[in-house]
C-alpha cells in the first residue's frame, strides 16, 4: 500500500517521462479504437447493406443478350437468379461548363416481383413518367438538385430531359467511380440514374436486348466453380467482361479499406505500445540502478522479491492504464468524424458509432500488457540484487585506458570541456546508448514517415506526367480505321498530335497462373504514351513483336523476360483460344497491372484490320476540343488528364492530411523519446554537475560540457538512424503491399526526408538542452550533495 504511494509519487515526480510514454501508448490505443471501431462499423454496415439489397454474386457485361436467352442462363446448374439490365453512360449538359458530367443510366424493372438483385434504396416517387429517374443521392446533393428538378442528358446524340423523381443508392456503387482507372470518386462528375426499362430500351433502340447481366448463385456454388459455364453461355452474346462480386470495383474498395484499416488498427498500436514498452524498459532499468539502496533497504526489511517486482511493475501498469484511458476516450470521440470521412467515399447506411466492448478489452490488454512487459523487463535485475550488495553503490567498471591517451590527436581538436564530455560519454556507456537510441529511433521514424506525405501523390501524378503525355483520350464506340481516326482527331481544335491505340481486355496465362489486364496496343514510335520504368527512371521502347509486362502482371504470373505467355481476349477465334507471345521486357511501375504490345502486332495477332478503339490527342485548346467532341456520335468517353489530376489532387488532400497527422504523431514520439532520455540522464548526473558547480564552474560552462555530449550523441544517433529508417520504410512498404493490390511504394528516402528528420531531432535536442540549462541553473547544490547515492 505504501509502496503503491511511492510508485505514484515517483511517477508524478518524473511525470514528463511517464506522460510521454503514456501518450505513446495513448496514440496507439487511439488508433486501435478509432480505426478499429470505424472499420468494424464499416464492415457491419456493408455486410448488412449488401445482404438487404441482394448484391449479386457475379456481374457480366455483354454486347447484346436477347430476352429469349435469359431462361437458358437461369438453367445453368448453380445459378439461382439472373437479372438483365441495360446500362448506358449519358453525358449531362449545362450543369457545369468546365467538367464533363456523366450519369450511368441503369434500367429498372418496376414489374419485378419482390426485391430484385442489386436493389436500389430509393427516397422519392415511383417512376411514372417516361423520363422519370432516380438519381444517386450524393450526385443530387453535390449539385444541389432535388426531386422535381430536370436535367438534360445526351443519349445516342439526342437531348433527353430527365425528370428527377427521387434519390437512390445502389449496392454496386457504394464507392462510385465511373471507371476503375479513376481511383477516386468524384461525386460531381459521375452519378447513377435509374430509368424505367421500357423507356431506356426505346431510347437506346434496343428493345428486348440487354448488356448488363447479374447473377446470384445457389448455396454451395462459387464463382470459380461456375465461371466456365457462364463464360460459355455468354460468349455468343459478345461477352466483354465477367467478374465475381469480390472483383466488383466498389465492393473491392470497401473490402480493402476494411482490411487495411483493421490491419492498421492492430499494427500501429503494437508499434507504438512496443516503443513505449522499450522506453519504459530503459526507464525502469535506470530507476533500478538509481534505487539500489532503496531496494536493498526494502529487502532487508523482508519485502519479498515478488513485492518489489510488483512495485516496479506498477510504474508500467499506471502508465499503460492512463494511456489506455486517454486513448479509449479520444478514440471514442473520433469514431464519428472517422465515419464521416468514410462517407465522403463510401455511400453506406447506418454506421454505428458504438465502440464494441471487445475492442476496449483488446485496448486494455495491449496497453497494460506492453506497459507491464516493459516495466517487468526493466525491473527484473532488482531480483538479483543481494541486499547487502545493494546497500553499497555499484562497483564502477574498471577503467580501460583513456581515449585521450589512445587517440592523442583528439586533444588537438577538443577543448578541455570537449574531452571531458567525450570521457563522460564513454564512461556511462549505457546512458549514452540510451540517448543515442532515442535519437536513432526518432530519426528513423521521421525519415521513414515524412516522404510518405508526398509519395502517394507523386506516384499517382507521375502516371500523368511521365506516362500519359497526352491531354485527352477519346474512347470510340466502335473500332475505326487507324489512319481515319488519326486524321479526324487532327482536325479537332488545337490538335497538335494524335495517336490511335488499342485497349483490349485480356487474360494472360502462364502455366496455371492467370492475370486479367487491359492489353494496350501502342505505336512503336509512340510519343503520347511512354513505358516509363519507375525504378530505372527510363523509358522502354515498344517492341516490334512480343509483349512488355509490368512487374505486377509479371509477378502474378511468375513470368520472366523470355518466357512465353498465353493471351486470350474477346477477339480470339474459337480455334485460337489462346495465343502464345514472348515476354520481351518487364518494367517496374508503381500502379496497376498492365501489358503492352505494338498496335500492329495486336491487330495481326487477333486477325483484326488496322483499326483503333481509342485516340490520344495532344491539344492546345482543351476546352474547344471538348466542346467539339461533345456531340460526336462515335465517342464513348472523353478522358482528360487535367480534370483527372485535379480530382486526384483533391482526393489526395485528405490522404495527405492523414499522413501529416501520422508525421505529427511521429514527431511527438521522437520528441518524447529524446526529451525523456536526456531528462533521465540529467537527473542521474545531477550530483556530478552539482559538484562541478561547487568547484566554481559557471552554469554556461557546465552546459557546454552537457551540450557537447548531446551533439556527439545526436550525430551518432542520426547516422545510425539512416539504416534504421530504410528498415522501417521497407517494413511499411511490405505491410502496404500485403493489403493493396497492384500498388507499390517507391523505395529510397529522399534527401529532404533525411533533412526533415535531422531537423526534427535537432529541435528536440535543442529543447532538451534548453530545459537542461534551466535545471542546472536552479540546481540546489546543497540538497543534491546531501543525498547519499
Amino acid at each position: 500500500m505504501i509502496l503503491f504511494k511511492k510508485a505514484l509519487r515517483t511517477v508524478w515526480r518524473g511525470k514528463a517521462a511517464y506522460i510521454s510514454c503514456m501518450l505513446l501508448i495513448a496514440a496507439g490505443i487511439y488508433m486501435l479504437v478509432a480505426l478499429g471501431a470505424s472499420a468494424r462499423a464499416l464492415s457491419a454496415s456493408a455486410a448488412r447493406y449488401y445482404k438487404a439489397s441482394r448484391l449479386a454474386d457475379a456481374f457480366a457485361s455483354v454486347s447484346a443478350l436477347p430476352a429469349g436467352a435469359l431462361s437458358s442462363l437461369t438453367q445453368i446448374d448453380g445459378v439461382d437468379e439472373v437479372q438483365a439490365r441495360l446500362t448506358y453512360d449519358a453525358r449531362i449538359v449545362a450543369l457545369n461548363a468546365e467538367k464533363l458530367i456523366w450519369l450511368r443510366l441503369i434500367s429498372y424493372d418496376k414489374s419485378y416481383p419482390g426485391i430484385p438483385l442489386n436493389a436500389p434504396s430509393v427516397t422519392g416517387f415511383e417512376l411514372t413518367g417516361e423520363y422519370d429517374v432516380w438519381i444517386g443521392q450524393s450526385f443530387l446533393d453535390t449539385h444541389q438538385l432535388k426531386t422535381g428538378d430536370e436535367l438534360t442528358a445526351i443519349v445516342e446524340g439526342r437531348q433527353i430531359p430527365l425528370h428527377i423523381a427521387g434519390g437512390a443508392n445502389s449496392p454496386e456503387y457504394v464507392y462510385a467511380v465511373r471507371d476503375p482507372s479513376d481511383m477516386f470518386p468524384d461525386q460531381e462528375a459521375f452519378g447513377i440514374a435509374y430509368v424505367d426499362i421500357h423507356a431506356l430500351s426505346l431510347l437506346l433502340n434496343r428493345q428486348n436486348t440487354f448488356n448488363d447481366i447479374s447473377f446470384s448463385f445457389e448455396n454451395g456454388y462459387t464463382f470459380d466453380g461456375l465461371k466456365q459455364n457462364l463464360n460459355t453461355a455468354l460468349a455468343p452474346y459478345g461477352l466483354i467482361s465477367l467478374i465475381a462480386r469480390k472483383d466488383l470495383f466498389s465492393y473491392n474498395m470497401v473490402n480493402s479499406e476494411i482490411k487495411n484499416d483493421m490491419a492498421m488498427s492492430y499494427s500501429v498500436p503494437i508499434l507504438f505500445a512496443g516503443m513505449a514498452s522499450i522506453v519504459l524498459y530503459l526507464m525502469l532499468k535506470r530507476i533500478i540502478e538509481q534505487e539500489r539502496p532503496q531496494i536493498g533497504t526494502l529487502k532487508t526489511f523482508g519485502y519479498t522479491n515478488f513485492e518489489i517486482l510488483a512495485h516496479y511493475i506498477w510504474y508500467g501498469l499506471i502508465t499503460g492504464l492512463l494511456g489506455a484511458i486517454v486513448g479509449i476516450l479520444l478514440g471514442g470521440v473520433s469514431v464519428k468524424p472517422m465515419l464521416d470521412l468514410y462517407t465522403r467515399y463510401f455511400t453506406l447506411p447506418d454506421m454505428s458509432t458504438d465502440i464494441p466492448p471487445d475492442l476496449i478489452f483488446i485496448a486494455l490488454l495491449v496497453a497494460l500488457g506492453f506497459g507491464t512487459l516493459g516495466a517487468y523487463a526493466g525491473a527484473r535485475p532488482a531480483l538479483r540484487l543481494n541486499p547487502a550488495e545493494a546497500m553499497r553503490p555499484p562497483t564502477p567498471p574498471p577503467v580501460k585506458g583513456d581515449i585521450m591517451k589512445q587517440l592523442p590527436f583528439l586533444q588537438w581538436i577538443l577543448t578541455s570541456r570537449g574531452s571531458m564530455a567525450l570521457r563522460n560519454i564513454l564512461r556511462a556507456k549505457a546512458r549514452s546508448a540510451f540517448i543515442m537510441a532515442g535519437v536513432m529511433f526518432s530519426f528513423g521514424m521521421l525519415a521513414a514517415m515524412c516522404p510518405m506525405t508526398t509519395m502517394m501523390g507523386d506516384i499517382i501524378l507521375s502516371k500523368y506526367s511521365k506516362v500519359e503525355a497526352y491531354d485527352v483520350k477519346l474512347t470510340l464506340k466502335s473500332p475505326q480505321a487507324s489512319a481515319g481516326a488519326r486524321q479526324e482527331a487532327m482536325k479537332l481544335p488545337g490538335a497538335a498530335m494524335a495517336e490511335p491505340l488499342r485497349e483490349i481486355p485480356a487474360e494472360i496465362r502462364m502455366s496455371n497462373r492467370k492475370k486479367s489486364v487491359i492489353l494496350m496496343g501502342l505505336r512503336q514510335d509512340t510519343m503520347l504514351y511512354r513505358l516509363y520504368d519507375d525504378e530505372k527512371h527510363s523509358v522502354s521502347r515498344v517492341p516490334e513483336a512480343g509483349i512488355i509486362l509490368n512487374q505486377f502482371t509479371a509477378d502474378d504470373l511468375g513470368a520472366r523476360r523470355g518466357d512465353a505467355v498465353l493471351i486470350s481476349t474477346p477477339y480470339n477465334s474459337e480455334e485460337d483460344e489462346e495465343i502464345s507471345v514472348t515476354v520481351k521486357d518487364i518494367i517496374h511501375q508503381n500502379m496497376t497491372a498492365a501489358a503492352y504490345m505494338d498496335v500492329n502486332a495486336v491487330n495481326a495477332m487477333l486477325h483484326l484490320p488496322d483499326t483503333a478503339d481509342s485516340v490520344m490527342i495532344k491539344t492546345a485548346d482543351l476546352a474547344g476540343l471538348k466542346t467539339a467532341v461533345n456531340d460526336a456520335k462515335n465517342i464513348r468517353t472523353i478522358e482528360d488528364t487535367y480534370s483527372a489530376i485535379a480530382n486526384i489532387k483533391q482526393a489526395m488532400g485528405s490522404y495527405t492530411s492523414i499522413t501529416w497527422i501520422i508525421v505529427a504523431l511521429g514527431s511527438a514520439i521522437a520528441f518524447a523519446i529524446i526529451y525523456n532520455s536526456s531528462a533521465i540522464s540529467l537527473s542521474e548526473k545531477k550530483r556530478e554537475y552539482a559538484t562541478l558547480r561547487v568547484l566554481g564552474m559557471q552554469v554556461g560552462e557546465v552546459c557546454e560540457i552537457l551540450n557537447f555530449e548531446y551533439w556527439i550523441l545526436f550525430a551518432a544517433g542520426c547516422l545510425l538512424g539512416i539504416p534504421f529508417a530504410a528498415f522501417l520504410q521497407n517494413s511499411i512498404n511490405q505491410m502496404m503491399a500485403g493489403y493493396l493490390d497492384n500498388f507499390s511504394m517507391p523505395t529510397g528516402i529522399p534527401l529532404w526526408g533525411l533533412g526533415a528528420a535531422a531537423g526534427g531531432c535537432m529541435a528536440a535536442v535543442l529543447l532538451s538542452n534548453f530545459s537542461a540549462k534551466g535545471k542546472i541553473r536552479t540546481l540546489d547544490m546543497v540538497e543534491v550533495l546531501k543525498e547519499r547515492e
Partner: protein, 247 residues
C-alpha cells in the same frame, strides 16, 4: 570472577536467540581474496544489549549483515530458533527478515519519496504485531514532522525515523550499523536512548556496531572484533545509562 565463568553463568541464565558458529566470509576480487571474517563464534542472548566494537575494516558490518540475513557466510552456521539461516532458501530468509529482524543503517536509507510517517508505515505494514506509528513518532520526538520528506529533515532526524522504522515491526532483534556514526554528540545520545528504551521496555535484543568505544559502556556485553576474528568478549556488570555515555 573470570570471564569464562561469567559466560557460562550467563548462558545458563539466558536463552540464546542467535548462535553464530564458525562463520567465515571471503570476498573474491579477481586474483585477490579478502578475508573479512576468519571464523567467528558467539551467541546473542534474548533481551541483551550487545555492542560490537572494532576498528574500521575489521568485519563488523559483514557479521551484522550475515546475522540480519542480508548476506551469506562463506562457511559456518547461524542458528535462529533451531534453524540454520545460512542454509535456507531466499524465500524463507526473506520471511526471517520480515518477521524477526529490524535494521538501522549508518546512512539512514530512508525512501526519499516517502514521508517520515510513510517510511515507518512501510515497515509496520509487514508485521502483524507492529507498533503504533503515531506513538513511535512521539517516542522519537518527531510527532510534528510525520509529513516531512527525508530531504526536509536533518541527519539526526532522519536517523531517528530510520530507527522508528526498524522498531516499528516490533522485531525480535534490532541490528544497528553505526547508528550514531553520522551524528553529533547530543543527537547520538538521543538515538542511543531510543534504542535502549526499546531494549528494556519491550525486552528485545539490540545489537549495535560501532568503532566508538564509549558506547560500549552502556552494553550488557561488548564484543571486540579485530581482523575478522573475535578478539575478546567483555561482560558489563553495571551498564551506564545512555545519558552517561561519553566519547
Amino acid at each position: 570472577m573470570s570471564e569464562n565463568q561469567n559466560k557460562n553463568q550467563q548462558e545458563n541464565q539466558k536463552d540464546v536467540v542467535l548462535s553464530i558458529q564458525g562463520v567465515t566470509k571471503e570476498y573474491k576480487m579477481g586474483e585477490v581474496t579478502v578475508q573479512a571474517l576468519r571464523g567467528v563464534d558467539f551467541s546473542i542472548y534474548q533481551g541483551e544489549f550487545l555492542v560490537i566494537l572494532g576498528p574500521s575494516g575489521s568485519g563488523k558490518s559483514t557479521i551484522l549483515n550475515i546475522i540480519g540475513g542480508i548476506d551469506q557466510p562463506s562457511e559456518g552456521h547461524i542458528i535462529y530458533k533451531n534453524k540454520d539461516i545460512s542454509k535456507i532458501r531466499e524465500k524463507e530468509l526473506t520471511r526471517y527478515r520480515r518477521a524477526s529482524v529490524g535494521f538501522v543503517f549508518q546512512f539512514y536509507n530512508l525512501i526519499p519519496n516517502l514521508t517520515a510517517k510513510e517510511n515507518i508505515l512501510l515497515a509496520s505494514e509487514l508485521s502483524p504485531s507492529a507498533l503504533s506509528v503515531s506513538e513511535l513518532l512521539e517516542t522519537i520526538g518527531l510527532a510534528d514532522r510525520g509529513d516531512h520528506f527525508p530531504s526536509q529533515m536533518s541527519g539526526g532526524q532522519q536517523q531517528r525515523v530510520a530507527i522508528a522504522r526498524a522498531v516499528a515491526k516490533n522485531p525480535e532483534i534490532l541490528l544497528c550499523d553505526e547508528p550514531t556514526g553520522a551524528l553529533d554528540f547530543s543527537t547520538g545520545i538521543q538515538v542511543l536512548k531510543i534504542l535502549k528504551d526499546f531494549n528494556t521496555e519491550r525486552n528485545k535484543t539490540v545489537v549495535i556496531i560501532t568503532h566508538n568505544a564509549g558506547i560500549g559502556g552502556m552494553a550488557d556485553r561488548v564484543l571486540y572484533i579485530k581482523d575478522g576474528l573475535i578478539d575478546r568478549v567483555v561482560v558489563n556488570e553495571t551498564p551506564v545509562s545512555p545519558e552517561e555515555v561519553r566519547w
